[in-house]
């Protein structure tokens, strides 16, 4: 009995993490997809791995998609309550993406690569970033 209790106590953290993961997985797969234009930079964090920290460029985002899907840009912003977001990328891709985003500051408007993030959005839930697109394609393909 004591041993079973010990095993149960040890399993609690895994159960919590697993349930959390399942909820996130469900939200990611069942939400409505929204694509937003981004601009940003790439600081590195040893514990979190490599990620792009970006801001959403609302001026260049197609706002029509929000109206079609029955929610507004403000709902999206308020639910995150932040001005910059993260997208995690692999160590091997981080350098290229960093360069790409930095270069986009200096290049002419018509030559700039279009960098977008696809979000999965459900009303009342935090939007989950699903994909990073460069010129409409997943970034892994471009690299």
């Amino acid at each position: 009995m004591k041993n079973k209790l010990l095993l149960f106590i040890l399993l609690i953290p895994i159960i919590c993490l697993f349930v959390w993961n399942c909820f996130l997985w469900y939200d990611k797969d069942s939400g409505t997809e929204i694509t937003v234009r981004i601009s940003g930079y790439d600081p590195r964090d040893l514990l979190s791995g490599h990620y792009i920290r970006y801001t959403i460029d609302w001026n260049k985002t197609d706002l029509q998609q929000f109206e079609d899907k029955n929610f507004t840009k403000d709902d999206f912003v308020d639910s995150l309550n932040k001005s910059s977001y993260r997208f995690y990328v692999s160590e091997t891709h981080a350098k290229y993406l960093d360069k790409l985003l930095m270069e986009s500051w200096d290049t002419k408007e018509e030559d700039k690569k279009i960098v977008e993030v696809v979000y999965s959005y459900k009303n009342g839930k935090h939007p989950i970033a699903k994909k990073l697109l460069v010129n409409g394609q997943p970034y892994q393909k471009i690299i």
Binding site: L6, I12, I14, W20, N21, Y51, V89, E91
Partner: protein, 327 residues
């Protein structure tokens, strides 16, 4: 050591064991305790290295493996670790169970980090620390590794929301500017003294409960030590203030500590506090004077005072030894 030195000497005096046997028993326990400590430390270091390695591998964010597989591998590894914890605890393999508990403690952080990577979450440090702290409770309660317990306590203090620290600051401001009727400098002194007394209580509280639970819950010891360290830090703040109330408080405190250690015949602690009192007096001398001449006089007087104190201290210590010392 399982048996005290005093008891062995008593047995020797009674003629139950010889002096040689006393020495043999002491050296046997000494060697075994030292060896056990060394092995335990090496096991914990190995566990830390493996755990940090896992976190870095997760941090690299392997692009070749799909997200689903990444998460699955992580959970399978975590399950294996938990089973290892369970197996070694139930089979009473203390060192190995410590290694796996240390790895499991960090594995929680790794798994949270991995989930954050896969779903691109950015909850910030506070929520990460809070989540890690809650999930790590089972491993911390079972682990006897002091480092993990201290780390967990630091996580606990980091997991409070930012508003908690604003609230603490508000209490401090209320004390300093509204509640206490003296000048701001005196109010800060009183606040620091009250904080010191609170920390003294918390240290005592943590230590007594740790002893009450047969020294099994190491986190209580860690809590007590953390309170002790914060207490010393507060004491430094009090010493640096140099208001009359601070000086009186420190002298009263030192006198009390000297008296208690003298009463309990703890000559090492008594000597340390006596040295601390001398250092404090010299500090007061030096800081009281501003220019080179007076600071020089302060140093000379401090030096003379130190010599006198050493003489008195040596006399007191030899007197204490005569009465019978208990370290």
């Amino acid at each position: 050591m399982k048996i005290s030195k005093k008891e062995l000497e008593k047995l020797n005096k009674e003629g139950l064991i010889t002096s040689q046997q006393v020495e043999d028993i002491i050296s046997y326990y000494q060697t075994n305790t030292d060896n056990n400590k060394l092995w335990k430390r090496l096991f914990v270091i190995a566990g830390l290295l493996i755990a940090l390695g896992i976190i870095l591998v997760i941090g690299a964010n392997w692009s070749l493996i799909p997200n689903f597989l990444k998460i699955s591998i992580d959970f399978v590894l975590f399950l294996a670790l938990v089973y290892a914890d369970y197996y070694f605890i139930t089979n009473n393999k203390k060192n190995l169970s410590e290694v796996f508990l240390v790895i499991s403690f960090f594995m929680i952080a790794g798994t949270i980090g991995l989930i954050a990577q896969v779903y691109n979450l950015d909850g910030g440090w506070f929520s990460f620390a809070r989540f890690w702290m809650f999930l790590a409770i089972p491993f911390v309660l079972l682990s006897k590794t002091f480092l993990i317990n201290i780390l967990w306590l630091l996580l606990l203090f980091n997991s409070f929301p930012e508003s908690f620290y604003t609230w603490l600051h508000d209490i401090y401001s209320y004390f300093v500017s509204t509640l206490l009727p003296f000048s701001k400098s005196y109010n800060i002194s009183i606040f620091c003294i009250l904080l010191y007394l609170l920390l003294e209580f918390l240290q005592y509280f943590g230590k007594s409960i740790y002893i009450k639970f047969d020294k099994k819950i190491v986190v209580l010891k860690a809590f007590s030590i953390l309170a002790q360290l914060t207490k010393y830090w507060t004491l430094c703040a009090i010493a640096l203030q140099r208001n009359a109330i601070d000086i009186i408080f420190i002298f009263c405190l030192l006198a009390y500590k000297l008296y208690i250690n003298y009463k309990n015949r703890k000559d090492k602690c008594f000597r340390n506090y006596a040295i601390l009192a001398e250092v404090y007096i010299i500090y007061l001398f030096v800081s009281a004077y501003g220019n080179l001449l007076f600071t020089g006089i302060g140093f000379i007087m401090g030096g003379i005072l130190l010599l006198v104190s050493i003489y008195v201290l040596r006399k007191v210590l030899s007197y204490m030894k005569k009465l019978g010392v208990n370290n």
